[in-house]
């Protein structure tokens, strides 16, 4: 049998289905995408090769840079606001024990279970300038209460809050699992040695969580760059293109403006940025480990 497995024909035939699938479902579309990025394809009719024109256009496309900036802001928001809070929440929940632990774990994770469409509409109503919850709260505190939270100027911050709030549960759950995997013996030993809660958190929990943090932060940055559905439903990038994000901008160019060629060139840049971001993050964490 072992000899049969070392026969090249056998190996080839066993690997073939996977390879064929990979080839036609992943590799060919990616290559086509790169190719179309060099054309002015509109989705209908013939595509003509226009070299680097799409990429040159991108350099001057203000909306592209706004969407890149917004995606960057979201990534920063995830790493600097969402994740520190998620770790703290995970530690607190872990310390609760008993029924409260299960209850709060559930409550924090709830937004992730609800469909994105509902989340978007929920927040649309909360933010509404005419009858929204938030404006009514402002009124209670004596404000005029007609602030258009999703309007020009405040929109991007309102959208960021929703996104950070929405993704919070995932981050927290992964950290919580990470904390659960830390051997309790270590905490006992530290307590005997006289370490207080803060010291135990900083010197035991955090260092042992490093691999979890690495994975979580990488996932967060990628998901920030990929963010699409919530924004699409909440503002669709508006007003104007103030709250445009990369994936949504790509979608809009390809499927609303029907500039498939340009949409594909954005997707190529998009993939490159994602790969670069992952690499940079890996380097940062590796240096720390060393």
């Amino acid at each position: 049998m072992r000899k049969a497995y070392s026969n090249k024909a056998v190996i080839a035939s066993l690997v073939a289905p996977g390879l064929i699938f990979f080839f036609f479902a992943i590799l060919v579309p990616i290559c086509l995408s790169v190719y179309y990025g060099f054309t002015d394809f509109s989705g209908l009719g013939a595509a003509s090769f226009i070299g680097l024109d799409n990429y040159k256009f991108m350099l001057h496309d203000k909306d592209f840079w706004i969407s890149l900036r917004n995606s960057g802001l979201l990534a920063i928001g995830f790493v600097c606001i969402q994740h520190p809070l998620a770790i703290i929440a995970a530690v607190i929940i872990d310390n609760m024990q008993g029924k409260a632990e299960g209850f709060f774990r559930c409550v924090y994770f709830l937004p992730n279970v609800i469909s994105v469409a509902i989340i978007a509409y929920l927040w649309k109503f909360i933010y509404d300038p005419n009858f929204g919850l938030l404006n009514n709260i402002v009124k209670i505190f004596g404000g005029e209460g007609h602030i258009n939270w999703l309007g020009s100027g405040t929109a991007i911050w309102s959208v960021l809050i929703v996104l950070i709030w929405h993704g919070f549960g995932w981050g927290m759950l992964i950290y919580y699992t990470g904390i659960k995997n830390i051997d309790p013996v270590l905490y006992e030993a530290a307590a005997i040695d006289g370490a207080d809660k803060k010291k135990r958190f900083l010197l035991i929990t955090l260092p042992l969580m490093k691999p979890v943090i690495q994975v979580n932060v990488t996932l967060a940055v990628i998901s920030a760059l990929k963010q699409m559905e919530t924004v699409y439903l909440l503002t669709n990038g508006g007003p104007g293109n103030e709250t445009q994000f990369m994936a949504n901008h790509l979608y809009k160019q390809a499927f609303s403006a029907f500039k498939y060629g340009y949409g594909n060139s954005i997707s190529v840049v998009f993939v490159i940025i994602c790969i670069l971001a992952t690499q940079v993050l890996n380097m940062i964490f590796r240096e720390k480990e060393a």
């Binding site: 000899k3 056998v10 035939s13 989705g43 209908l44 499927f255 403006a257």
Partner: protein
């Protein structure tokens, strides 16, 4: 032995692969078989009469932009399909539906393939149909078939190219202000006849703590229509030709363009629309009006079914009335100049598997007692055909008003600004008019941006 084992493994694997493939090929041949059958029936029955009599089973694929099959236009469409199937038992109609934007995306995907559905929804507006007609995707229709169908003068222009007809218009859309008659009466407000009166009225309504006009600025396209509406009032006629030329020459320097956007900006600044209108979507804007939070609602005649909608509180429902854009100071137009167009419609595709049958279905739908009658009787919309013969006397007030508005109209604006150019033009036009309306960019910047996409 080992060789035999290897051989067995390889052949097993290949067989399983072939097995997977074989299944699909059989189904493929099955479908081509039916396709072949269908074409042969078509070939043998080149005359229409024979086609029906043979009774060969035919499955028509319809791709429609009306996903709601239980109310409104979707219901009318489905009713017609059901009736057709009853009358032609050999025909099965399979309907696939998607919302406008998703529809357009999938339409392109279908267009890229070799076979499109037989009957498809189309928009008789340059932004959509020009490209489709140029690509030769639609079948030419015989214009003589429709001589007695009562299509309103000019309603098929958008579906024609070089004197050839490629589709039929489904309805006539008129842009208007819906208003709450009771609210007007209770407060002693009157319907404005000039734009200045409208703005003065808005001040009064704001002072009463209500919203003057509920505007769907989040979807952006109503703002573009508002600009066309104002231009129609400024120019009186020729807005379509003027916009068409402006796009062709990438030159929007004509003063009416500038003035229309200026008026929109001033109106928004003065509080004609609700706070945050630029982020209010269709449903929310409509709800403001339905819940009597706003006195008026700027929308098209397709929403006239509000007056028959049981879900709307009777106090509002029974008091819905309409008026068209009031005349603008210095404008050349009268009340007979309205912003109206024939947008949606249907075409039979060039690559349709059952072209003859699809055209038969299309003609069946648009015989005067078809779409026109059903749509009017159900208060759904005004068709692009003469619907006055179907007046029942039970029309809702808005229906009667629309009938009068259309009957008295001497000039129609035709396609609104956003739908006049390419898809890219539309996207930019919508983004920028929203920014202009909230005074984030100047009128000049708006026109510079859209002119850029025309080059």
């Amino acid at each position: 032995m080992k060789k035999a084992l290897a051989l067995a493994l390889v052949s097993a694997m290949t067989l399983s692969l072939v097995g997977c493939g074989a299944k699909t090929t059989t189904t493929e041949t099955a479908t081509t078989d039916t396709a072949v059958e269908a074409t042969t029936t078509e070939n043998t029955d080149s005359t229409e009469a024979a086609d029906a009599s043979t009774g060969e089973p035919v499955t028509l694929q319809v791709f429609s932009n009306l996903p709601d099959r239980k109310t409104g236009q979707g219901l009318v469409e489905q009713t017609l399909f059901d009736d057709y199937m009853k009358e032609n038992p050999n025909v099965t109609i399979e309907v696939e539906t998607l919302d406008d934007e998703a529809y357009k995306t999938k339409f392109k995907a279908y267009a890229a393939g070799s076979q499109m559905p037989d009957l498809v929804s189309v928009w008789g507006q340059p932004g959509f149909i020009d490209e489709v007609m140029d690509a030769g995707l639609l079948t030419e229709l015989n214009q003589d078939d429709y001589k007695d169908y009562g299509f309103i003068q000019g309603s098929l222009d958008g579906f024609s190219k070089d004197g050839k007809l490629y589709g039929l218009a489904r309805n006539t859309d008129v842009m208007c202000f819906y208003y709450n008659q009771k609210m007007f009466d209770d407060n002693g407000w009157t319907v404005p006849t000039t734009y200045d009166e409208l703005l003065a009225l808005a001040d009064k309504i704001n002072a009463a703590g209500l919203i003057p006009v509920a505007m769907d600025g989040g979807d952006k396209w109503p703002l573009d229509i508002y600009v066309t509406d104002l231009m129609e009032k400024l120019d009186g006629s020729g807005v379509f030709a003027k916009t068409h030329d402006a796009i062709a020459n990438a030159d929007f320097s004509d003063p009416s363009f500038t003035k229309a956007v200026d008026i929109l900006k001033d109106s928004a600044k003065r509080g004609l629309f609700q706070k945050g209108f630029e982020t209010t979507d269709y449903g929310t804007a409509q709800n403001l009006f339905i819940n009597a939070q706003s006195a008026m609602f700027y929308m098209g005649s397709w929403d006239m079914s509000m007056a028959a909608n049981e879900d709307i509180p009777a106090e509002v429902r029974d008091n819905i009335r309409v008026f068209t854009m009031p005349s603008v100071e210095g404008g050349k137009a009268t009340a007979a100049n309205i912003t109206a167009w024939n947008g949606g419609g249907y075409s039979v595709t060039e690559s349709a598997a059952h072209k003859e049958e699809a055209i038969k279905l299309l003609n069946y739908m648009f015989r005067p007692e078809g779409w026109t009658k059903l749509a009017w009787e159900n208060g759904v919309c005004m068709s692009a055909q003469d619907f006055s013969q179907f007046a029942t006397g039970k029309e809702t007030e808005p229906q009667k008003q629309f009938m009068e508005i259309v009957a008295n109209a001497t000039d129609l604006s035709r396609t609104p600004l956003g739908d006049m150019g390419s898809s890219e033009f539309k996207t930019v036009c919508e983004d920028k008019i929203q920014e202009a309306a909230i005074d984030k960019i100047s009128t000049q910047e708006f026109y510079d941006a859209i002119a850029e996409t025309c080059k």
